[in-house]
Symmetry: C2
Subunit: 217 residues, 2 copies
């Protein structure tokens, strides 16, 4: 059985998005700085159908992020930035157009039922309304022995951590202070806080520190 | 002129103390885990008049923390755990007895005036009631070309960072989730968030990641 891993970029002061998130600025004020390192990599560009890009340590980390992944679980806000009924969501088709960068099944946690959407390039969107355990079960069914990645947002990762379902936490700590926004660790992490074991630290030329932790189960 | 550096141990979820701080448990619930790495080192033990201890990477980091330091600035709560008038503070003589582990002048930020206290071993306690700039000026006067360390708590470090007075941030990220308590970055970090540059990353055998950032001025 593959691992359930949660991977996310975070500011030094603990935010995964800046303040004042809008549809136009979904990462909030200053939040785009968290992703500059990955956007510059050849792996990210290739995944998004582009050529060029950096071939450095960040690129290896970005490649690791998708290698061996058979499915993803993400939150509704990460999918569309919206909330409430889908017919009222101006971004209900999500951010990624006809050929999203996943190329594997994606399960979206939502309170609003919706038929699955099949995109080009191997990406399918399945909407799960009955909770994180159900989403994980469905993701496991398609991923088999491959890993499942929790792509965010923060609250989805927190829920899996608090439920004791997470195997690995991969943080990309970006040397910037956002001073507000969406915290990676806003919520209580469960009654018996997880025991973590640092398994990998990689310094990147961009000043990002990539740290991987195994969650003791 | 020496650097102003802020050095502190922090949980992976961003707390410098756990929930429910009391005089008996000043680091809050679970907070003692943040300091296990340093308490085990030979340097820390030597600074506290004890023998033995680990001679490892953590020990080198602990030694770096006091090397070249000419003075410290700390908050009232870190000094005694109390607040309000000194005559009502059951721990007004602080935690450290007759021979505190500093061995250099320490300036305590407080709202309540008090005569300086001279301890054994080179430690003096000077109480500063007119703000962080004044404390820094007084510390510089005694430290000369040596560095000044902001020993905590979190709010003192934040104030110096927000005021643009900090030169260096040394974090010891401990692989534990406290799920609540005192956040390292609770407050707004200033109108123009600092630009940081990662200057050093050290992995320790205890799973702690020691990261140093230079603050661009």
């Amino acid at each position: 059985m593959g691992k359930l891993r949660f991977e996310i970029s975070v500011s030094l002061d603990g935010y995964v998005a800046g303040p004042n998130q809008t549809l136009e600025e979904p990462l909030g004020s200053g939040g785009e700085q968290l992703h500059e390192w990955v956007l510059a990599t050849a792996s990210w560009r290739e995944q998004h159908g582009r050529s060029g890009g950096e071939r450095n340590v960040d690129d290896e980390i970005a490649a690791d992020g998708v290698r061996g992944v058979g499915a993803a679980i993400i939150g509704r806000r990460m999918f569309s930035g919206g909330e409430g009924p889908w017919e009222d969501d101006p971004n209900a088709d999500a951010w990624w157009g006809d050929n999203p960068p996943f190329h594997y099944p994606v399960f979206i946690l939502t309170h609003h039922a919706r038929e699955p959407v099949v995109k080009e390039g191997g990406t399918t969107f399945t909407f799960v309304t009955d909770g994180i355990e159900s989403a994980l079960e469905q993701a496991r069914a398609v991923a088999g022995d491959d890993d499942i990645t929790v792509g965010g947002g923060a609250s989805v990762g927190q829920q899996y951590l608090a439920a004791g379902l997470l195997d690995e936490l991969r943080l990309h700590v970006v040397p910037v202070l956002l001073g507000g926004g969406v915290r990676l660790f806003e919520h209580h992490v469960g009654d018996a806080p997880a025991q973590l074991r640092r398994t990998r630290v990689v310094e990147s030329p961009t000043g990002v520190v990539h740290v991987t932790y195994a969650v003791a189960r």
